[in-house]
C-alpha cells in the first residue's frame, strides 16, 4: 500500500462518505471538534512545498472516530521511512477499506461471500 499524504487521505475519506465540507464540519462537532468548512478545505489542500501540516491531536482523534479508521492510517506519511518489506498481512491490506463508498463496500462483501460459499460447496462435493 502506498503512503498517502494526510491531505489526500482526508479528502478521499470525505468523498467516500459523500460528505460536503460543510457536512463534515457539522459531523465533527458530535466528536467535540468545532471547525469551519474552510479549515477542512485547508487540511485537504497541499502546501506549495508539497507537504501537509497536521491539525491538532484532538482533531486527529475526532477524524478517526468520524471515519472509523486508526490514527496511523491518517498520519502514515509522517513515518514513511518504516515500510514493511515482506507482503503485508491481510488486515493491513484492508486498512483502506474505509475509502470505499457504501455501495462499493457492499459489492466487496458480496464477492467475499460468493467466494466463501463457492469454496464450501466445492468442499461439500468432495
Amino acid at each position: 500500500m502506498s503512503r498517502v499524504p494526510f491531505n489526500r487521505r482526508i479528502a478521499e475519506l470525505r468523498l467516500a462518505r459523500g460528505l460536503s465540507l460543510r457536512q463534515m464540519a457539522i459531523d465533527l462537532e458530535q466528536y467535540g471538534v468545532k471547525v469551519s468548512h474552510n479549515a477542512i478545505a485547508k487540511w485537504e489542500s497541499e502546501k506549495p512545498s508539497g507537504s501537509t501540516r497536521l491539525p491538532s491531536k484532538e482533531v486527529i482523534g475526532a477524524l478517526c472516530k468520524l471515519f472509523n479508521v486508526k490514527p496511523s492510517f491518517l498520519v502514515e506519511e509522517m513515518f514513511a521511512s518504516v515500510k514493511s518489506k515482506s507482503g503485508s498481512g491481510r488486515s493491513e491490506k484492508m486498512l483502506d477499506v474505509e475509502l470505499l463508498t457504501d455501495e462499493e463496500f457492499e459489492a466487496l462483501l458480496k464477492v467475499k461471500d460468493l467466494l466463501i460459499k463457492a469454496r464450501k460447496s466445492k468442499a461439500g462435493e468432495l
Partner: protein, 153 residues
C-alpha cells in the same frame, strides 16, 4: 512524500509495532512525564517509568532527567545535529525519529507534545538502521535519562 529504497524496508512486525505505537499515542494511552518551556513530554503506556531497564553506570558521562534533556536547547541542538526531526516537526506539525539512549526509543512529536517509547529489542536493529538512513537518528552525549527519580531511558 519521500520515496524509499528497498534497503530501507523493515519487517512486517516492526512496521506493525510502529503503527501500534502511533495508535496508542492518539488513543490517549500515555503517561505524562513533565513539561518544559517548549514541549510536553509523554511516555507511551507506562513503558519508561516502570519497564525500561538500566545498564551499568560508568560515571564518565552525564546523567540527566528526561525533562532536562528536552528543556536544554543546547543539548537538543547538539543531539539533533544532522537529524531532520526538529525541522520536519516545524514544517509538518508532526515528526518521528529514533533517539538512542540506553536503549533506542521511538520518538513521535505532534505540535509541542513529544511521545517516546522504548523500542522492543527485536525491532531495535532494523528501526535504528532505517532511522539512520533517513537522517532521523540521534544519540545524545549523555549516559542516560532519568524519568522522575528513576534512570529509565
Amino acid at each position: 512524500m519521500r520515496e524509499l529504497d528497498d534497503h530501507l524496508h523493515v519487517s512486517k512486525e516492526a512496521s506493525q509495532y510502529v503503527r501500534n505505537t502511533i495508535d496508542r499515542i492518539y488513543l490517549e494511552d500515555n503517561y505524562h512525564c513533565c513539561t518544559t518551556s517548549d514541549f510536553e513530554i509523554w511516555h507511551v503506556g507506562t513503558c519508561c517509568p516502570y519497564i525500561c531497564d538500566c545498564a551499568q553506570i560508568d560515571g564518565q558521562r552525564q546523567k540527566i532527567f528526561c525533562g532536562d534533556f528536552w528543556q536544554s536547547k543546547s543539548l537538543r541542538a547538539l543531539t539533533m545535529k544532522g537529524n531532520d526531526f526538529l525541522s520536519l516537526l516545524r514544517q509538518d506539525g508532526a515528526a518521528s525519529c529514533v533517539l538512542e539512549l540506553r536503549r533506542p526509543h521511538m520518538i513521535w512529536a505532534h505540535g509541542n507534545a513529544i511521545y517516546n517509547h522504548a523500542i522492543p529489542e527485536q525491532f531495535a536493529g532494523e528501526l535504528v538502521r532505517v532511522a539512520k538512513a533517513k537522517n532521523l537518528y540521534s544519540k545524545p552525549p549523555v549516559l542516560g535519562v532519568y524519568v522522575n527519580t528513576k534512570i529509565s531511558a
